[in-house]
Homo-oligomer: 383 residues x 2
Amino acid sequence: MTTTVYIAGAAMTSFGRHNDLSMQDLAQSAVVGALADADVSADRIQAMYNANVYGGMVLGQVLMRDLGITGPALYNVENACASGATAVHLACHALRLGVYETVLVWGVEKLTSLGGGTIPLQRNDYKTELYAAQGMTLPTVYAMRGTRYLHERNEKPEVLARVAVKNRTHGELNPLAQQRKAVSIDEVLQSRPVAEPLTLLQCCPSMVDGAAAVVLTTVRPSSARPAVRVLGSAVQSGLLEKGCDDILDAEITARTARLAYEGAGLGPRDVNVVELHDAFTIAELLYYEALGLAEPGEGAALLRSGATALGGRVPVNPSGGLLAKGHPLGATGVAQMVEIAWQLQSRAGKRQVEGARIGLTQCTGGGIAGVDHAASAVHVLGV
Amino acid sequence: MTTTVYIAGAAMTSFGRHNDLSMQDLAQSAVVGALADADVSADRIQAMYNANVYGGMVLGQVLMRDLGITGPALYNVENACASGATAVHLACHALRLGVYETVLVWGVEKLTSLGGGTIPLQRNDYKTELYAAQGMTLPTVYAMRGTRYLHERNEKPEVLARVAVKNRTHGELNPLAQQRKAVSIDEVLQSRPVAEPLTLLQCCPSMVDGAAAVVLTTVRPSSARPAVRVLGSAVQSGLLEKGCDDILDAEITARTARLAYEGAGLGPRDVNVVELHDAFTIAELLYYEALGLAEPGEGAALLRSGATALGGRVPVNPSGGLLAKGHPLGATGVAQMVEIAWQLQSRAGKRQVEGARIGLTQCTGGGIAGVDHAASAVHVLGV
């Protein structure tokens, strides 16, 4: 990237059940926080990118209605779980081109008001509905990957549980996480079955509300804090799984990561801290390899070595990840940026990764019923 | 704009009730048509921008699932009626930056399957719902503007009807329009009342399905046809109306047009053909002035002069506009580009504007219940 894009400010609400807050309250709270964090006044914002899945038409405009940020361009962006990261990616295009100097990106969702469960899609899509009606929802798609993983790698369910133990242990240190309670391997394995081999504590909570926001700018921040730069940014689409003959191949994620690393001129060995898309425990193990953090086949060994836990060589999901933090779809990708920005500026409190200088975020969204195409986003940030 | 963006191919489905076609069928039809029109193979597409309002999560990925365009980046973009134009605008950012060389942009909607009427928004937005419940839907918002217009300008409803007569006369020449029937002033005025002074024939049909697609590229097309360039592209947000004290001031549209003209280095007098957002007849009269086609207060005179009819100085909505063509939200902005591209290449059949070299498209979306912020997009195209 020739023009440098900085994350000048980062903020998020706590993730959880916010009965008393509207989607507008949540988004405005994150946006006001990010502006204050950046020490940027609202009148310097030239464009806004709203990431959301379930909020409806021109949501971004509605959210900002009472905040007085009226004039700038506003783009509503959706890419399922990767919505927030996709919004950041599109903002980087315009910033690097010089169309804008300073923009706001936020993600928001209020899933508790939708009642949970598999939320009906409004589209008239025979295939997706047929597969979903037969039980091919996301938990079952990931469960099949988990089963295949245990078979192919000659592993026991304990390895999956270790992901939940690690991330929920991290989450206990994050005051903004929805589930702040460390758990044992036995507790994970004995929690309610969802789709074998996945138990309840191996699935991220999706009955959750929250928002996250960042101020992105090409003007080098004058703050005394280290300036966080977006070094690489990639979005790709494709099948969530490569195909029925290899459901463990997260090809889309590997492809997106390769582009993001190329953009940054860095590789996986340069990364000190990662926030990745652990919607289900099995996902984190697959993404270790897709992101190049582990060699093919070595994901479980990387986990067991402790390298991806706080205190290890490359802590993964110090925030608690989606498993502990909760997964308000549109907000997740931006919240990952917020966490990495805080980590790189040594502002992550008890979950701080010491000396982190390069961080990575990864989201993969969509792929409902396995047959759908998915969206993938990877960003490399650095100080 | 330093790097030139070309519209290499343009195609659309007919707009109408397509009971037998899914949203996927419609989108693929337009996309295949645009690729063929551009003589570009699918493997040259590096990114895709899907514009849609009511289709649900990762719709773009689902739509392209069976078409074999799997790898590229895909962005789902929403900005109400301006969704399609916003998608083109975002694509131009990436193309001008050089991230991509050739991309696809499409818009699609299948509104007939939603049952019509004021479609419930899934968001929890007290203000919008309160106003809408009291009757402040889009037809009533525009009706109040119509009433105010007739009062302030000392006009009779006949001037509003003239817009419908003009555009529906154009629409009779467009085989892709939903309502292909010329009407008289009396027929317009005597059609069923919707919200005084607006009658049924003054409101665009929104029970409509359709899709439109363009191939955008920075590689100069080798076709013998004139190369259509995107000269100016602007998106802005703000109030649909400036405020209760001046509901005729389409400030957001004037501001967006100013930016688009600046980008193109052109002004309203350079424009030979216009596709604008005539969702209701009154809108076209207001936009004449907001776009600078008429001096303030001179919109009605411009209409009566015949300048904006086919054969006039600057034909507006030769396609029939939203009034005759129908308004499948996400598809509309892209369909406007398709019409202007065809006009500039002298491929518009019986509705051809002779010698057109510069065209303009304009959409304003959102503003539900009047109190909401809206999105606005203006593009200037040229050969």
